[in-house]
Amino acid sequence: MAAFIVRRLVQSIIVMLAVAFVSFSLFTYVGDPINNMVGQETTMEQREELRERLGLNDPFPVQFARFIGNAIQGEFGISYRMARPVEQIIAERLPATLELAFVSAVFALVVGIGLGIYTALGRESVAGRLVLSAAFVATAALFSWIGAAIVAAVMLAVTFLYRGKWVGSTIMSLSLIGVSLPTFLIGILLIYVFAVELGWLPSFGRGEVVSIGGWTTGFLTPSGLQALILPGITLGLFQLTLIMRLVRSEMLEVLRTDYIKFARARGLTNRAINFGHALKNTLVPVITITGLQLGSIIAFAIITETVFQWPGVGLLFIIAVQFVDIPVMSAYLMMIAFVFVVINLVVDLLYYAVDPRLRVERAGGGGH
């Protein structure tokens, strides 16, 4: 166990160092940092002096070590565009992104698991067909709109023409449409329907936020909660289809096993079998995948935040890319890398703790 943890830790540190190297190279070699800091009237001597004072003439390893030292303390320099410390700007904007990611992850999990179970249990049932057809028609009617009608028609066509079973093909077509419909387009469609046409929900920003000790939250005001709905759905939809497919296939697999047959033979109720036995054994991989997807949610927030002008770190990054604000870019990169590495590490360790088979295999392989 200890050896495994140490090995994973070392791996994570190497990944972080590699990413730090990339961000540092960005910082040092892309553009001249001095040029970005001083005005035009600064003389060559003053520039040289500033260069010396900031340590930009030191050898590469010394500068790299200093960069890492600063990064560990959370210092990433001054934004070229906003002339403020990068870590301050990020700290201000991080709550917005984290709240959005949280809402969309909960949405994806709850709806995804629900639909997954439903489609796994309700195979080929007439009710299932009716519900799905009604959902298609309702989408088209709600959008009351040529475009949505075409989308719905394509969905129906794919569903009917795809080879294989009905619910399975619905899932196939939904997931294909999920990968073919870019996130930003989903956001635009939702804005058009619910903000422009119906006027139910706000189309941009976070609404009113309450600040609690430096953490701004939109959970406590009605307008803040309303503002979370559309971006939350937009960001969560892709993860939702992923989780739904996963739950469905895992559930179908589990329902075929002997212990489920035995539970049926014992005369347990369907509810007890489906939710007490089958679902419980389905959830381990689901939790793993969701955990791994958390990093992607934060990264994909870039797109959603741009569509909804959500004041989070993703929008900050896009603006930084457009204005070549290197310190913000490299800090964002380091932050995302850190999130990914930590999530991967935690998931690996949890897996190791949860799945005893893995431990036996590793011990067997590593013992010699």
Partner: protein, 330 residues
């Protein structure tokens, strides 16, 4: 070759093909193509036929855009501001010109803009897929065939890159290119930067697949024979191993073409793609998005539908190809 049909719905109607007849010469290549398993599964799947027709229509539309398009949307001389913001299926109040899908604020015909836009989208997506394919296949082949520290180095880099979403990597490459290139070249170079950014963010899948199959092929007899007669390593790798590992690569290429189309649109929508003077589908959606609130929905919707239809049909083709080429599903 004995083909066992496990899928019951295919089993009964599968034409019995005498293996010796297939190998006979004398029949033209298209007759053999019509009799092949792949064409059989193509014929049996109506959705694939529709998808291929739609894809083909997009390709024809994109390639022949200058001849098909009713208006020339990027020639300022032919634009008339009086034609601006005409709704779909109607005539301009001032000039009487008819616009099938409406016009934008500068009087560009949306239908023509979509044709020219899919031209840029497809060009970028194709070049990016080609770039990532060449890069990924080469690296995978080298990693799998040479092995050792080269293998572990390439695969570690692949692992690290794979843990980040492709769009993030592409954005980063775009940001670096923007900082390195002089300002006045940025718009001209935007397409190449975009191709590079998307291409470099999708090579990992090819490398992993090719590495795996190369390691299998490496131990086969024909490779040993080639070694024995003293062929140089690179000849064995590219002339003998490469053709045997290309099957899955085609499937990945088709699926990642759809992914590349979407990535290009996303990057252009985020404002880091091609400039508005040469709009792709994503840029058109971005421009149209500014007019969504004032009710001009057609500027966003039609390019959006075009994008989804294109990506969906390419995805369906890739899906079918994966099933058709996968011997386990036969």
């Amino acid at each position: 070759m004995t083909v066992q049909d496990t899928a019951p719905d295919i089993g009964d109607s599968h034409p019995t093909v005498d293996p010796s007849a297939v190998r006979q010469g004398g029949r033209s290549w298209w007759q053999r193509a019509l009799d092949s398993d792949i064409f059989y599964s193509y014929r049996r799947s109506p959705i694939t036929i529709i998808a291929s027709i739609v894809t083909l229509a997009f390709f024809v539309g994109a390639v022949f855009a200058p001849w098909i398009a009713p208006y020339d949307p990027f020639n300022p001389a032919s634009l008339n501001l009086m034609d601006g913001l005409v709704p779909p299926m109607s005539e301009s109040m001032f000039t009487g010109n008819y616009f099938f899908l409406g016009t934008d604020q500068q009087g560009r015909d949306i239908f023509s803009a979509i044709l020219f836009g899919s031209r840029i989208s497809l060009l970028v997506a194709f070049s990016a897929v080609l770039l990532s394919m060449v890069l990924g296949v080469t690296l995978g082949l080298v990693a799998g065939y040479v092995g050792g520290w080269v293998d572990s180095l390439i695969m570690r880099i692949a692992d690290i890159q794979l843990s980040f979403p492709g769009i993030l990597v592409a954005l980063l490459i775009f940001g670096v290119a923007r900082a390195v290139l002089p300002r006045d070249m940025q718009d001209d170079m935007a397409i190449y930067v975009l191709i590079l950014a998307i291409g470099l963010s999708f090579w990992v899948q090819y490398a992993r697949t090719v590495r795996g199959s190369t390691m299998v092929e490496k131990s086969k007899e024909y490779v040993q024979a080639a070694r024995l007669i003293g062929l140089p390593t690179w000849v064995i790798m590219f002339r003998h191993v490469l053709p045997n590992v290309m099957g899955p690569v085609l499937v990945i290429a088709t699926i990642s073409l759809a992914l590349a189309i979407i990535s290009e649109a996303t990057l252009s929508f985020l404002g880091v793609g091609v400039p508005p003077t040469q709009p792709s589908l994503g840029t058109l959606i971005r421009i149209g998005n500014d007019f969504l609130f004032s009710g001009e929905w057609w500027m966003t919707l039609f390019p959006g539908i075009a994008l989804v239809m294109l990506a969906l049909s390419v995805n369906l083709l890739g899906d079918w190809l994966r099933d058709a080429l996968n011997p386990k599903l036969r």
